[in-house]
Point group: C2
Chain length 422, copies 2
């Protein structure tokens, strides 16, 4: 069926579901692109269509005309508007048949959950001729793997991420790896903090483009950016692993130099809060937090990592001046003289938290998250972060841009960055 | 150019950018779908392609063949891989010309930011013949509005949401409203908490489907779901407003009945933390929080709303038992006898927070977020939430499913739900 694929085009993702065109957020392309890159494949196109037989059929047909790997997600449920199976049959010419084994499996799933299988779920046992079943451990809709040739495959996935992701991981990626064997590959997962995404975009792309010109080497990358945080994955393959590693090392070196101190690690799955947690645990140090404008966000972030109780002894959300005085021992006179958002108060908060919780380190944050509360001398976005240890107290002044939520998030990241640099 | 549009097909969105196929999350379809629905239009298809002239050109051509409204986002920047303008010229046959006025405007923007305009930015002054310029208040790439007939338009947007969204709001939506005038419309924005999305999907769709059969009435809806939270927008239009309102009221009534107490409001932009905040402010009541397993997430959520300092007096993150005893006055004996995750400790935390901060209401959360720490009697996901007021202390036991992050989020939502029901 493949009529016009170039050697570089690899995969298309077709997302089926009217809800995806009615406001529901779709994260499949982001996830699948990153997972494909990990085995040296690329996602080259994504297409979202509603629950309409004609639309789905046409999308599959077009996909099979141009791509060796066609993923489809959604429309495998039991209700009348779940019609991806029928569309796939129509587009490929492979008729549907009802698998008794599959039907019994679905019935058994319902039995285990103490439900009777509704009649409509029978349709989930319909398989395309020649399809292999992809087991769904987290739902009733099985996936289907239909291999047309040594180089072309159509994969039907259910829509929910918690069902799709394990099927991709356990069944699909290992097979694709065998179908499209890669040369030895070196990979890196670089993380950056307090860097605008546009800087990474503008500085990293030319570095990659240069590396891609190295003879005999293939370079792939994915970027995932949140506010002031960028994850950058690089995959380099070559005939011999040392060459791939050499090119990767050069890319990493250039990217680190271009990103001026914002790089903080290259492990897989390495959020900044984990870096801080690992650091405190390794040093057996304890931490107390006093948050004003971030209102508990920093504590929430650190406790998102399991095991944070080993070092995070206590946190205070001292939104009111009274709480700052009562719980942290900030002198009321200090607040009167300098205002609650000031360097001296941030320092007193850090010291107060450290003292009250008897920890090695105390951190205090006070700022103006807005939208109200700003003034010419103290604009919205002004944030002080102070760090107290046994020996000394330090503090930093920031002026963050953006709305209330961005300012708060940037303050939390800046605080994590200060903690990791201790 | 429109060759095959059905009367119901309205808009397609073409997203351009290889980064969208390299892991970057794309939220345009979700946002644009909801904004189109607000003026009675639908998004019927979304298509993401890389920075390749052929791919972009083909996508625009296909879009114009089938849809009266074709949106394109991305590829309007100044660099060599920004080629959406060229693709649009090729697909439509409208040649590009360089607008001197536009060029001067872009130069002026750079001057105001104290930069010299790089030569490559000149390309951003290239306009399709017949295009109107859409001013970009937050970046250098202007948008373009190319109207081919009274019923067909191609709109070029820059990719960044903070540039695209205002252009959509200020320029595009008002014009589309005039191009496709709607009959009178009634709308509702329903919010639900602690409800799995699948329930809303399965119960709400049939209600909408029934309403859509009412003669002379058009019903549109969008759904946006996060963990245990669902926003459901409904738009009903008819020749006369009273009929639209009547049908809308019936839908709302049926949906509220089907959602059994999980509905909490129908205002636009009404997150649960705002409901709680409004309630506390209206009653001039004050609140103190004691969080263990949620580690500050509840405080962070409440303080995300500006003005929360009026009622949220203090928050404690008492991850350690020592902090529970020292800061909240939880009897050490109680922790020894029942464990830190227990109903008596949750109650003592709520009372302790209320007493220490001298507030009207105190709330305590303790639980096992996992992945470790569970036991047969106290499984991962077990959470106690207690509420203390002057007159009484109440508490609830929950067993939440999911991973650490989901359990924590569900606990926060359950706590907000308890606060709003006071």
């Amino acid at each position: 069926m493949l009529t016009s694929a170039s050697s570089k085009s690899k995969a298309i993702l077709i997302c089926v579901g009217s809800e995806l065109l009615r406001g529901k957020l779709n994260t499949h392309a982001s996830h699948i692109a990153r997972r494909l890159a990990s085995i040296g494949l690329t996602l080259d196109e994504e297409h979202t269509v509603g629950d309409e037989l004609g639309q789905i059929t046409q999308a599959i047909r077009q996909g099979l005309n141009s791509y060796p790997i066609v993923f489809l997600s959604g429309g495998l449920g039991p209700t009348f508007d779940d019609i991806s199976r029928e569309a796939a049959a129509e587009a490929t010419g492979c008729p549907l048949w009802r698998s008794k084994a599959l039907m019994n499996g679905i019935k058994a799933k319902f039995r285990r959950a103490h439900f009777k299988m509704p009649d409509m779920n029978i349709r989930q046992a319909d398989l395309l001729q020649g399809a292999e079943v992809i087991e769904n451990r987290f739902g009733t809709a099985p996936g289907q793997w239909i291999k047309f040739s040594d180089s072309q495959v159509l994969v039907l996935f259910p829509g929910p991420p918690r069902e799709l992701y394990p099927m991709l991981e356990d069944f699909v990626l290992p097979r694709l790896k065998r179908m499209y064997p890669r040369r030895p590959m070196a990979e890196s997962h670089m993380h950056f903090v307090n860097v605008p995404e546009s800087i990474i975009d503008s500085k990293v792309r030319p570095i990659i483009a240069r590396a891609q010109k190295t003879p005999g080497v293939e370079v792939q990358f994915t970027i995932l950016a949140q506010i002031n945080l960028v994850d950058f994955d690089i995959f380099v393959s070559a005939a011999k692993l040392p060459l791939a590693q050499k090119v990767l090392a050069r890319i990493e070196h250039e990217v680190r130099r271009a990103s001026a101190g914002t790089w903080y690690g290259s492990n897989m799955d390495y959020p900044l809060e984990k870096v801080v947690g690992d650091l405190f645990r390794k040093r057996r140090a304890s931490l107390a937090l006093a948050e004003s404008c971030t209102g508990g966000m920093l504590a929430a972030r650190l406790t998102d990592i399991a095991g944070s109780s080993e070092f995070l002894q206590a946190g205070w959300v001292t939104y009111s001046n009274a709480a700052k005085v009562r719980d942290l021992g900030v002198p009321a006179q200090l607040i009167r003289a300098h205002g609650a958002v000031s360097e001296p108060v941030a320092r007193a908060m850090a010291q107060g938290a450290r003292k009250a919780a008897q920890t090695d380190v105390g951190l205090g944050i006070t700022g103006i998250a807005g939208p109200g509360g700003g003034s010419p001398g103290k604009p919205v976005g002004l944030v002080y972060i102070a760090l107290a240890t046994e020996k000394r107290v330090s503090s930093q002044r920031f002026e963050f841009s953006g709305d209330r939520s961005s300012i708060r998030q940037r303050a939390v990241l800046a605080a994590l960055d200060i903690l990791r640099k201790i």
